[in-house]
Structure formats: structure tokens, C-alpha cells
Amino acid sequence: MTILAQPAHVIAEAVHDGTLSAVDVVAATQAAIERNDPAINAFSEVTYERALSEALRVDAARRAREPLGPLAGVPYAVKNLFDIEGLTTLAGSRINAGHPPAAGDATVIKRLKGAGALLFGALNMGEYAYDFTGENAHYGATRNPHNKAHMSGGSSGGSAAAVAAGLVPLALGSDTNGSIRVPSALTGIFGLKPTFGRLSRAGCFPFCASLDHVGPFAGTVRDLALTMDVLQGPDSADPVCATRIPQAVSAHLARGAEGVTLAIADDYFQRGLHPDAAAAVQRVAAALDVERSVHLPQVARARAAAFLMTNIEAGNLHLARLKTRAADFDPDVRERLLAGALAPASWYVQAQRFRRWYQAAVRAVFDDVDVIIAPATPCSAPRIGQKTMTLDGETLPVRPNLGLFTQPISFIGLPVVTVPVNSPGQLPVGVQLIAPAWRDDLCLRVAATLETLGFTASLATKEGK
């Protein structure tokens, strides 16, 4: 079989039934990365030796008729804020390049290894995750595989681009305000930001601990669900990781959107949209036969609160480095962090208190709606280097405003699947499917239905080009 651009579950099935060896997966994946990554700059470091070592173990286990994990032989890579044993955890920064190598793997990498997946390396990201563009002053921009003059989105830009380019079928990223949902939308693939606290963040370099999530990118909904089930589970090393018993989501996908009450987010989520992003919401709603709209209260304030919490927590996190190594930061990031480090405490506390209010208000909205449809970004991928964009006649900076529609949702930790919407001759855009806390299964089920209706990932896999 041709491995390039095959879904993770297809590769795992072939490895399980012996029609494909994990070692062959390594050779094909390495060739794809060597051929295609230089043009998109997704990888910051490759770990071919590790992938081969893991593949040899998978193949040996199969020969010995030992049970194989659900992701046996599946290649993947991770945003470079996840600890990988033996590699320095860059978090997109020059400063961290001077840190010693990680002594062990992040919890989620341990779990993927236990499931038989093969780690191919670390992926580029915006510095310290404070980014929606995929640009990085130190390591260069990650380019959108669909048009290399355009942004991948960020901050998990390398994760999205690696999947969208067909280099790996699966990648991990993090999402504090939209850093999974924005790049998955702009590169035309599926992304899952799980419920806050559902997946362990242990072994991940933090950005804003109150809002940090981790999650997968993939070319299919089934791969997202399969990965979610491998990664779930309590972890005492992450103070906010849930202690509840994991509930598998894969088994529910076949139910699709049946019985799920859907509505389109109105008002805030329908302003400032470019025509392609607005059309994407309409296409998804039409495919699901949804006409009803729903109102989320005080969304602009929720975004303001998330903005301030992020700015102030991150400013505090980096304060010592801002005092001693300011020149080594990406200038765009440094100026934002300095502002956050100087902000008044009362702004921060008000944001945390408002979070409680907003959580209760949105819970009430979900009393009679199961999944809310909203745009993921206001537009398709801007050009690399583009500093401003025009929304509703107002010129706004690109960097903070690509997350205009994602930020108010992660603020209260709701699970979201980003579904790709592709149109011929146009760059992809994405639509958010937002579910109540802990009902990640609902947004995955609706995404699965949309996938069967033709809302599939767009992989830029031109072998040999």
C-alpha cells in the first residue's frame, strides 16, 4: 500500500493484519519528510532512529503474536513544547535552546508509545505558543501546504502543516486560545481541542496554565477519536487533569449527528467574517439541515477576559527571562509579554471571576442545544508576513485577531472539533463544532457525519513535488 496520506487507522489495521510492516512505514515516512518538509518547515527536529527502534519493537511483537496497540505502526510528530526524551524542548524559542535535553517523554507521548505509535520528531510553533500565525522569528515560518506563500496558522503551525502535507497522519499540538483550531482550519484538516483537563499536559512547556489544553490533529475524525481514547486518563503530574474514569469516544462515532440538537452561533460569531468563512458556516449548517440560531451572552467580554488572563499569566511566567534575556525573544512576542508583566492585578482577578459567570451562562445555553456551529477563523490563511487585515471595515492586527472566534470558547474549556471546509481554487477554512464540557463525543459524532457528507480533509500530498 502507499503509506503517504493514509489515515492512521488504515495504517494500524495494515500493520495489525501483517500486510504492512512498521519498518516499511518508517522508510516511507522518512522519505516523505525529507522530500517535502524543506518547503513547508514543519519539523524542527526529526527522530528517525527512535521511530525505527519503536517500529522494530512493533514488528517483533507481531511476529511473536503479542497483542499490538491500537496505533501500532502509526507515524506521528509533536509540537516542540512537548518533552521528548533526549531532545531539548524548544517551545519555539531561542532561549530554551540552551536548556538540557528532556529526561523523559511527556505523558501523552508515553501513551502514544504504549499504543504502538512511532514518533518522528518535534514540530515548529510560534514562540512560547503566543501566536496564531505559525511565524517564528528564530526558526522561520511554517508554510501552508496548500499555498506556501500563506500562513499555516499557529501556534501549532508545524503540527497542522505536517498532517496537511501528508508527512504524518497524526500530530499533537496545544490550544490555549485557538492554537489547534486556527491552524487546523487554515490548513484544511480536522483538529480536536478536548474539554479542559481531559488530557494530561504533564511534560509540556506551559503558556497560560489556566487555559492550556493539548489535543490531536488528523486527516479523519476516526483518527481524532482513536487518539483521544489512547490519550485519556488521569495523571497526577498535571494538577488539572481530570480524575474521572475515561469514556471512550470512538465507539460512538457511528451514531453520527442522529439525535443531536444543533444551532448556529449568532451575533458576535456572524460579524467580521470574510465571505469564504461565512459561506463555510452556511454550508455546514445546510448539510446538517440546521436553521436554528443560538445566542451566547457576553462573548466580547469573554474574549477580553481570555486575552487578559493569557497576557498576564504569560507575562508573569516569562518575567525573569524578560529581565535578563529580553533581546533573545521574538520581538512581537516580547512586546506582548512585557505589557502583560506590567498589567494591574485587578484586571486578572476580574477575568478569573468573569470566567465563573460565563461558564454558568453558557451552561444554560446548552440546556436545549447539544452542539453549536461557529466559524473557526474570520478568514482563510493570510499571507506570510501580513500584519493587518480588514474585518467589517476595521483594520486590525492579524496576530491576535485570527483567534477572535476560538478564544471565547477555550476560555471555559468546552470541547471543539474543527471541521475543514474546502472549495476549489480557494484556501481552506474551518468551522467549529462546540459541545458542552465533557461531551467531546458529541462534536466528534457531528464531525463524523459531516465527513460522510463530503467535508473531508484536504491533504496537499503531491508525491515527489
Partner: protein, 62 residues
């Protein structure tokens, strides 16, 4: 609530001195812009009346 005439330059000078944060000349304008944006966000947020018994959510369990 920040005053409508919140002066980010004055804030920057006062707080950076208090917190011993040296702002390079080349960064000053960018930090001022970012403080002004944060102040706009704060103005919106601080204008919202919250009940006294509403607790902050730093350890958040959705």
C-alpha cells in the same frame, strides 16, 4: 475600571521602574500599544458588574 484617558506610557514608566523591568528603547512603542489594547479589553471587562459571592476560577473544572 481604567479611566478613558488611561495613559499607557505613564503606566509603563511607573510599573517598569517599580518592577525593575528594563524596556529597551526599540520596544517602547510596541509595549505601549499592547498596554493600550489590554486597557481596552480591561475597560470592557471591568464595566461588567459581578456579584460579590462569585468566586474566581483559577482551578477550573468545567
Amino acid at each position: 475600571m481604567p479611566k478613558p484617558d488611561f495613559d499607557p506610557e505613564c503606566w509603563l514608566d511607573t510599573l517598569s521602574a517599580l518592577m525593575d523591568v528594563d524596556i529597551a528603547a526599540g520596544d517602547r512603542a510596541g509595549v505601549v500599544v499592547n498596554l493600550a489594547v489590554a486597557a481596552q479589553m480591561a475597560e470592557l471587562l471591568m464595566a461588567f458588574e459581578l456579584p460579590d459571592d462569585l468566586e474566581a476560577a483559577p482551578h477550573f473544572a468545567p
